[in-house]
Symmetry: C2
Subunit: 340 residues, 2 copies
């Protein structure tokens, strides 16, 4: 093709030669790891620009021990909830020069372990675990090899940090909101029994309802799987039970979507016949029919906060303005007030 001078690969060494300095000097201006005379700095930088030199990250990692990449174990990359979190992670990480490597575990412990191996073999600097099914022990063992941040539950230990919303509080918020709107009989579609966040949320709901004197009967609680179809089925089950309720709490937005459809199929209207509230405030929830009232727990935020925490663990320095995790109910049109 281009037959000029053999297109010799531009390496740090080449730059050094061209600038008339030693490779170490080039490395130093690259990393600002030591003082270099301004004269040489300029010369080196000129050559770098001239050749468009970009250090080979592989070589750098092999020599330096840091890959500037972090592994992210998620359950389903193709889920609206995780997608928003992943975006938060990507944004924050990239801003700090790191790149995320995403893998999905599909709620399967064995697959998760495999995926983690893949990541570790790639020498990631840290691991971000979103709602894993790994045992605490396994995670703590991992933490001996590299910094770990977990979401969706609480795991103690050194070199490991748990980031999460206060799901209990969110649950209370939802229940209290409904109560304040005049609802007394409430049914709930909860998440998988095995998910820590699901159960805190449920406890929050139940405790709050009890507190206001409207204890929720066990029959009014059905377990879903945090997915649309699970919510659909759960709602059908609730309907079959022939209970009396004016509102249903779906423990995440996706299940609320499914519940909404089940209600529709059975001829019930939201919110005229029954009020419906979800959790997460997925972006799509503003566009459902009707737009969904939901407890907002920004999954984007959980992503950025988790990433920030991991970076702190990796670099061992605090990140100044860490994002605050906020929870609030976003009132839209799937709930209505029963008070005259």
């Amino acid at each position: 093709m281009n037959g000029k001078h053999e297109p010799r690969k531009v390496t740090l060494e080449l730059v050094a030669a061209e600038a008339g300095v030693s490779p170490s000097t080039v490395s130093r201006v690259l990393n600002q790891s030591a003082g270099v005379s301004l004269a040489k700095q300029r010369r080196v930088n000129e050559v770098i620009d001239k050749y468009g030199f970009k250090p080979n990250l592989l070589a750098r990692s092999l020599a330096g021990g840091k890959t500037m990449s972090v592994g992210v174990l998620t359950q389903f990359i193709d889920s609206p909830f995780y997608a928003e979190a992943l975006k938060g992670i990507e944004d924050l990480l990239l801003a700090h020069g790191y790149v995320p490597i995403f893998v999905s575990g599909h709620m399967d412990a064995a697959e998760e372990a495999d995926k983690i191996d893949v990541l570790i073999q790639r020498k990631i600097d840290g691991l971000l675990v979103l709602s894993s099914t790994q045992s605490d022990d396994q995670l703590q063992a991992l933490a001996k090899k590299l910094p770990v941040v977990v979401t969706g539950r609480e795991v103690g230990g050194a070199n490991i940090k748990s980031i999460d919303f206060d799901h209990y509080e969110s649950g209370r918020l939802a229940a209290n909101f409904l109560y304040s709107q005049g609802h007394r009989a409430v049914a709930v579609i909860t998440g998988p029994r095995t998910a820590a966040d699901a159960s805190s949320r449920l406890r929050g709901i139940l405790d709050e309802m009890t507190r206001v004197g409207q204890e929720v009967d066990g029959d009014s609680i059905v377990e879903g799987d945090f997915q649309e179809f699970g919510g659909f089925q759960a709602m059908e089950e609730l309907l079959r039970r022939d209970l009396r309720f004016t509102a249903v709490i779906a423990c995440n937005d996706q299940m609320a979507y499914g519940a909404n459809l089940a209600l529709f199929r059975s001829g019930f209207r939201v919110p005229d016949d029954v009020s419906l509230i979800g959790f997460d405030n997925l972006k799509h929830s503003a566009f459902t029919l009707p737009p969904l009232t939901t407890v907002s727990q920004s999954s984007y935020q959980i992503g950025t906060v988790a990433a920030e925490s991991l970076l702190e663990l990796i670099t061992d320095k605090l990140i100044p303005e860490k994002t605050e995790l906020q929870v609030r109910v976003v009132v839209r049109e799937s709930t209505r007030s029963l008070r005259s």
Copy 2:
């Protein structure tokens, strides 16, 4: 913990020593790159198992030139459409020992270029570009450095391959379906003018309607942005224009969601007052109110097919049973027949 001998890092060299062979031999059994006596193979493998040795991918890449990773440039990682495609890509790549590195370009040419740089600096073996805003020239230039696969449009050249659905045909399909259901006056919410797939789709629709003698007036076409809110606004605009139509074609499901809400707000019912059809068959479309009729173009499939093609380019050998890209209309409840 285990205070035996200092927990020396287990490297290929360690394994070699322990097995009483040279490092090269270990490397050979690892890669099956040359004949090794069965006796030694066994011994080496025993030691490998005993120490749980996993080769350092960084070192391997630096020495061998291959990183077994491919870059994936997507527009929005937090979009239902891309999420499904990403899952397809991840599944297929991982099955072949490759890992995808995802970055988002956010429809911004400059950001895209930046992200591509990040990827290249990480020495990816190939690049997968989903609906980029880069120019053909830029992509062709990239293809000189590494294999490239593009979706969403047609780019020619060596070392580069374009994978896409036949959007024109999809458009025709949608139009023809509506016509077959008795619809004559059709409005359309198209995608961004700049998107190649959007315009083919539109042409398909228009051509088909013309073919059946129901030419679509320019007034009945509004441009959206492939997002929910864009669809919402487009539908509002359509409504303002006071046209006469019995069906609207939204050029993707997300815009259909928005359009559905806009219709609802204005007191129109889908499908009683107007039929609505989308494209993509996102998983969520089975759970909208009403469930959405849509032209199914599995984004998961586009992901796997694109990944397969990239692997073919990288490894230079054909993958046997390549997935077929299928397009069909999935009839649900957002459309109704006007006949009889």
